[in-house]
Symmetry: C2
Subunit: 255 residues, 2 copies
């Protein structure tokens, strides 16, 4: 599995991804899922989730089109929508190459992508490309997009990320969301990559990869657990819990 | 959908369940999913998740067996394992009654259950009954069980619940886990029920149902959001984020 997310803020974009891939529980590997394409006034980040053969095939195809100066490539598309349409088309054709070719019926090597960045004078944008090749944009009311193992890390995003979130907060929230996911799911794992794109910069402001033993990652995990426990302890007791304080079972059951 | 959880502590058991059922997004209803069976030195709680026709069929069957003093019922089984086997058997036969009877192939009206309580001199126990009728126990290293929409609320359980958790903490953690799930998923909703069972009491110490407008539930949601935000703000910045503070884009990109 995989967990990738993109967050759109007024100042720019944030991308976070894990690096674990698995085909069954005993075939676990490490691959970066964050791919950066940069050329003059074009800056694009592609986060890939799903069947690894499909996502590698898509990235290889995209890179070949760039290398061979193809008629259509990430250097020729003129809007982010066109870029998403291009990625979606390649993804569908990669999937169809291998789908249902053997005895396993319903074998569908699906892949999903988050595509974000800025092309020339357009504002920065963030898009979720579905396995079917169609896509949706992030918006001010839905400023983040996720692919892969998305549920464990969603509650913290829902509480922190909003239209006015700063880039720093967005990075921190992405890392906490990733940490929660790694804590609860074995199919998402380090290294954790994050990239910050500042509006109108056409370059990465920050692009880091933190491995399993990274001191900051270990500290974040420990401090977030401690802070959560403190936040939890400070909650007021639920109705009825006062009955459990300092009374014997016999007394409680008489009430 | 549904979200139900049970937590086993040294002092007893905690059960929490939502009340939303949905068959498609435009067919949403409210049903309690917490069923209590109590008779002399027997106390059992059944939390039901999955196809509503199946879960209602199972509960009706269990109640009929009790009413008619059947050869096997929750009043005749002598261990919690026997009770789980009995529930699992009824569940499988309810599912098989309706599976694949019409044109839709692969229609499987599945249901899962959490069964917990105490029978006579045995210690209290907590069991997850799968749609196939087989089951697993909670243990000191896995003190909680979930059924339904389980992922959103798992990170907080993983961080708070352990073998030595008090009953009060277990209730609070169950409610926070439920709140996180309701916040991020439209298929889990109030009223929220919780029940506390004290070891060797053979009765509910606390059994409450909090509806949508319940003041405590609203306060819990607000305070947990606030506390989480504070906990989040107190985290140390990720590597590189210092670059974003008080510098112009030009300066950052030069670095």
């Amino acid at each position: 599995m995989t967990y990738c997310l993109g967050i759109s803020t007024r100042e720019g974009l944030v991308f976070v991804s894990d690096s674990r891939t698995n085909a069954g529980v005993d075939h676990i590997n490490t691959y970066s899922k964050m791919h950066v394409f940069k050329h003059e006034h074009r800056f694009l980040v592609l986060l890939a989730s799903g069947n690894l053969a499909t996502t590698q095939g898509v990235v290889a195809h995209v890179e070949r089109d760039l290398r061979e100066h193809s008629h259509i490539s990430l250097n020729t598309v003129s809007t982010l929508d066109e870029a998403a349409e291009y990625i979606g088309g390649i993804s569908v054709s990669e999937q169809n190459k291998h789908a249902n070719k053997r005895l396993e019926k319903d074998f569908r090597p699906e892949a999903s992508f988050i595509l974000g960045g800025q092309l020339k004078q357009d504002p920065p944008g963030l898009i979720h490309v579905y396995p079917e090749g169609n896509f949706v944009h992030a918006s001010s009311s839905t400023p983040y997009l996720q692919v892969g193992e998305v549920k464990y890390g969603k509650p913290i995003l829902d509480r922190i990320v909003e239209d006015e979130t700063t880039l720093s907060s967005a990075v921190m929230c992405g890392l906490v969301s990733m940490d929660s996911t790694m804590r609860s799911s074995a199919v998402v794992g380090p290294p954790i990559e994050y990239l910050v794109y500042l509006k109108d910069s056409y370059a990465s402001a920050i692009h880091r990869s933190l491995d399993e033993d990274n001191e900051y990652l270990l500290m974040l995990r420990r401090m977030w657990s401690e802070n959560l426990r403190e936040a939890f302890k400070a909650l007021p007791d639920a109705p009825g819990l006062d009955l459990l304080q300092g009374q014997s079972i016999a007394e409680i059951l008489k009430l």
